[in-house]
Structures are given as structure tokens and as C-alpha cells.
Amino acid sequence: MCKGLEQGGNRSSSCLKQGFSSGLVNCELCNSRASLYCQADDAYLCRKCDKWVHQANFLALRHIRCFLCSTCQSLTQRYLIGASHEVMLPTM
């Protein structure tokens, strides 16, 4: 898993891993660059689409979304819950 930096790999120097050999992952709805992954929906989403999708009803709001590293787009330890609650899981 890409540790990157605390804020999801803002500095590319520390992010060496290339998560996907085929290139970057696109948001499934708007085809822009994906920055979140929803495991319940099994979908990569950008921030806007994620907001639209998961604010439709409270069941979707319960999904826990994982932030993707902004450089290599692999999963991080930052998660997004609800509308805007970010959680950082400490790594052991």
C-alpha cells in the first residue's frame, strides 16, 4: 500500500510505487482522474462524483471510501466516511 505522505502523497518524490501498469484510473462516471475508491460499490470515483453518488441516500452515505494516492493512485490509509469525515488509520 502506498504510504506516500500524510496527505496522500502530495510530494511525488516519496512515492515510488506504480500501482497500475496500465496507466491511471479514471472515475467511472465522468472519466476524470479518480481520487477515491468505494469498496461497497466497487467503483473508482473522483471527488465530485463521489459526493453526488454517496449523498443520494443515507445508505450510500454509510459507504467507506478509500483515498487514492494522488501520484500513483493506490490505496492509502485515509478513508472518507459520510459526507466529509476523514479518518486516518494508523499503520502498525
Binding site: A43, V53, L89
Partner: protein, 417 residues
């Protein structure tokens, strides 16, 4: 969870959505899953009628009841007479099927097929009326449109399921013939590529479901192998649905309690804060009982600290939960356990409940190993205790205290003839 639909809260739930980990009545299911393209992909299945809390995997034709894995094992795994019951796999669906399509998907669910068809036709007509009234985006396009795929894939899953199910199942598996959907479903306009819903169709066995004509309306896509993942991920709860259908017909369930978009939004807004707290609560390991859950709930800032303490939990520890965790914990058990594994959380399917087959098989193997070393003969565990016992005075074979009267002293024996 439990007895009410998770969304409206006052109808009895019928289906279980694995992605949302929620039990929904049919009308809420349609409302929720027609909201956007992603939610349309969610796979839904029937609720178990015994425990009302988990998705039903199989339907026992003899008892005519849909059961989840646990109830199935409880009911059929233990007693030998029951283990020969014929059980059929229950299909899942995604998208927004109409009542006719659902009735063809679950033919046992409705009343007998012949009157059922006529009622379904009526309901189909009624459904179209309601469809016109509703301005939601889903229409007849909701169902699967994609062509038949992966018959080989289905065959593989057949074999897997055969192996899993064991002695109670028929040896042969029938792969349902897939047909092109009727015209009404073929409307790709307005449906983006990402929104093609899949209908997962594990093979069904048993005589009643071997007929192909029951599945006219459904185009079975590739088998939804995510089924395993979701099943392990999310806990389960469900209500029985047969009573509902026998009383009012499926259409009554669809038409009642149409939540307007405004309502769901309001509820979503109100629930956003509550849900975020609730989710933080749920992220702690599912092992925690209600007391510690409450303590974490009360202090959000401690949530991150709680994570550190819990990350070492293994999947096996979840087995302690089963009857005790609250409904909310149970739902998010899958997500929380994944997060706390400390590994890449999304890649391996999470192991969640104690009834997962690997936990059980481990326990069974351990039992068999210990069984081999059982000895029922007279066996001395502690030699020192035997030494003490040999020299103790006795009365009628029982030990007596040192100062009491005795009639047998092993150290000082007199031979009597």
C-alpha cells in the same frame, strides 16, 4: 435490521443489498437503487426467513423456506434426516427489475406459477402505470441488457458450488439457458456504460427450476463472483417475505411508501452527521461488545486511538460476536474488520462471521485430531497424587481425615482369612 426495512422503517424488508448491507422492502429497494448508476449495480437477494438478518443463499424445497448459510447449516447440517433436503441456490439481481421479472427470478416466492402469471401480468400493467407516474430515472432499461456471457464461467461456479454444498445437493447442475430479453428491456438510451446492471445467477438445482421458460425475462450475465466477497464482508439480516406476498401481492409492496426524493435527501442530511459518528463507531473492531462501542461513540476524538488497539485482531476473533453484536455493528462488521486488518483492505475478501467455512473447518479438524488421542481407560494424570491416595486411610472405600475412624489402612494391612 431486524424486523423493519432499514430505509423506511415501517415495512417488512424483503431483500438484502450486499453493497449497502441493508435490508429493504421492495419499494425502498427500488427507490434507493435507482438513484444512480453505481447503486444500480448493487446485488440484491432474498432475506433469510429464519433469522431475518442475513441474505438467503438457498431455498429448501421441502420446508419451503429460504435460508441463509447459518440457518441452513443449523437446520440441515446437524440432523441427518434433514441433511438430505433438496436445496436450491437463490439468485441475486441487480438493476431495477419489475415484479414480473422478480417473480420469474424467484418462482417459489410468489404463489403457484399459473395464477401467479396472471397476477404478474396485471401487476406488470400496474407497474407501468406507476413507472409513468414516477419521474425517477430508471425505466424499463433497468434490467440487464448485456448478452450471454461466460457460460464457462458459470460452469466453474457450478463446480465450486457443488463442492461447497456437499451431500445435500443433486449431483448435476443445470445452467440456465439465457435468452435475449424482451424488447421492453432493450433500451440503451440514456444508460451509460457503467450502469449496465448485472444479474448474478448461480445455478439452481431442483426440478422446479430446471424449466427455462421461467427465465424469459432475465438475461443472466456472468455469474457474480463478487457474491462471495460481499457475503463475507457484510453481516446480514432479513425478514420473511412470503407472508407479505400472500397477503397483498408484490405490487402492493412496490407501491406503498414511495419515498419522495425530498424525504430521502432530508433524511440523508440529518443522517449524515449521525452516520459519520455511527461509522466511526463501527470502524472499531467488530469484536467489541456494546459497552465499549458506546464508550467510543461518546468520544469521537478517541476513535483514532481505538484503532491502534484493535488492529491485531484476526478474523477468527469475530466469531465471538455472533449473537451479541448490535445490528449496526453487524452491518459494518465487514468494513470495519477489513480496515483493521492492517493489510491492503480491499484486496482480500474479509472474513467476518464465525460461521464462515474456514473457521468451522478449522474447528472440525481440531476436534478430529483430539478425537484420535482420546483414551477412556483408567489413566493416572498425576503420579504424586496417586502416591498420596495410595496411603490414605479409608472408610468403606472413601477417604477419611487423618484423625477419623477408619476401617482400612493401606499401610498397615492385616490379612484376614
Amino acid at each position: 435490521m431486524g424486523y423493519n426495512c432499514d430505509f423506511c422503517g415501517h415495512q417488512r424488508p424483503v431483500v438484502y443489498c450486499r453493497s449497502d448491507a441493508a435490508c429493504l422492502c421492495l419499494s425502498c429497494d427500488r427507490n434507493v437503487h435507482s438513484a444512480n448508476a453505481l447503486s444500480r449495480r448493487h446485488s440484491r437477494t432474498l432475506l433469510c426467513e429464519r433469522c431475518n438478518s442475513q441474505p438467503a443463499l438457498v431455498r429448501c424445497t421441502e420446508e419451503r423456506v429460504s435460508l441463509c448459510e447459518n440457518c441452513d447449516w443449523i437446520g440441515h447440517g446437524t440432523s441427518t434426516s434433514n441433511s438430505t433436503h433438496k436445496r436450491q441456490t437463490i439468485n441475486c439481481y441487480s438493476g431495477c427489475p419489475s415484479s414480473a421479472e422478480l417473480s420469474s427470478l424467484w418462482p417459489f416466492f410468489w404463489q403457484s406459477p399459473s395464477p401467479g402469471e396472471s397476477t404478474c401480468e396485471k401487476e406488470l400493467g400496474l407497474m407501468s402505470i406507476t413507472e409513468n407516474i414516477e419521474t425517477t430515472s430508471w425505466g424499463p432499461t433497468g434490467n440487464t441488457v448485456s448478452q450471454n456471457k461466460n457460460s464457462a464461467g458459470v460452469a466453474e461456479v457450478n463446480n465450486d458450488n457443488n463442492a461447497d454444498m456437499g451431500s445435500g445437493w443433486d449431483g448435476s447442475s443445470s445452467i440456465l439457458e439465457l435468452r435475449s430479453p424482451p424488447q421492453a428491456l432493450d433500451q440503451p438510451a440514456g444508460v451509460t456504460d457503467t450502469s449496465l446492471p448485472k444479474v448474478s445467477c448461480p445455478q439452481t438445482k431442483g426440478p422446479s427450476l430446471c424449466e427455462d421458460d421461467l427465465y424469459d425475462d432475465f438475461n443472466m450475465d456472468e455469474v457474480d463472483l463478487n457474491l462471495d466477497n460481499y457475503e463475507e464482508l457484510f453481516g446480514v439480516a432479513l425478514n420473511h417475505s412470503e407472508e407479505l406476498f400472500e397477503s397483498g401481492g408484490i405490487d402492493s409492496l412496490f407501491r406503498t411508501n414511495d419515498l419522495s426524493a425530498a424525504d430521502s435527501d432530508c433524511r440523508g442530511a440529518v443522517a449524515a452527521e449521525g452516520s459519520s459518528v455511527g461509522l466511526v463507531n463501527a470502524i472499531q473492531p467488530a469484536c467489541s461488545n456494546g459497552a465499549s462501542a458506546d464508550s467510543v461513540m461518546s468520544n469521537k476524538t478517541d476513535s483514532v486511538l481505538c484503532f491502534t488497539g484493535r488492529q491485531a485482531h484476526s478474523s477468527l476473533s469475530f466469531s465471538g460476536l455472533t449473537g451479541e453484536s448490535s445490528g449496526a455493528d453487524y452491518q459494518d462488521c465487514g468494513a470495519s474488520s477489513m480496515l483493521l486488518m492492517g493489510e491492503p483492505p480491499w484486496c482480500p475478501p474479509c472474513t467476518e462471521s464465525s460461521f464462515q467455512s474456514s473457521t468451522r473447518s478449522n474447528a472440525v479438524m481440531r476436534y478430529k485430531e483430539k478425537k484420535k488421542t482420546r483414551k477412556f481407560e483408567k489413566r493416572v494424570r498425576y503420579a504424586s497424587r496417586k502416591a498420596r491416595a495410595d496411603v490414605r486411610k479409608r472408610v468403606k472405600g472413601r477417604f477419611v481425615k487423618a484423625g477419623d475412624a477408619y476401617d482400612y489402612d493401606p499401610l498397615n494391612q492385616t490379612q484376614s482369612f
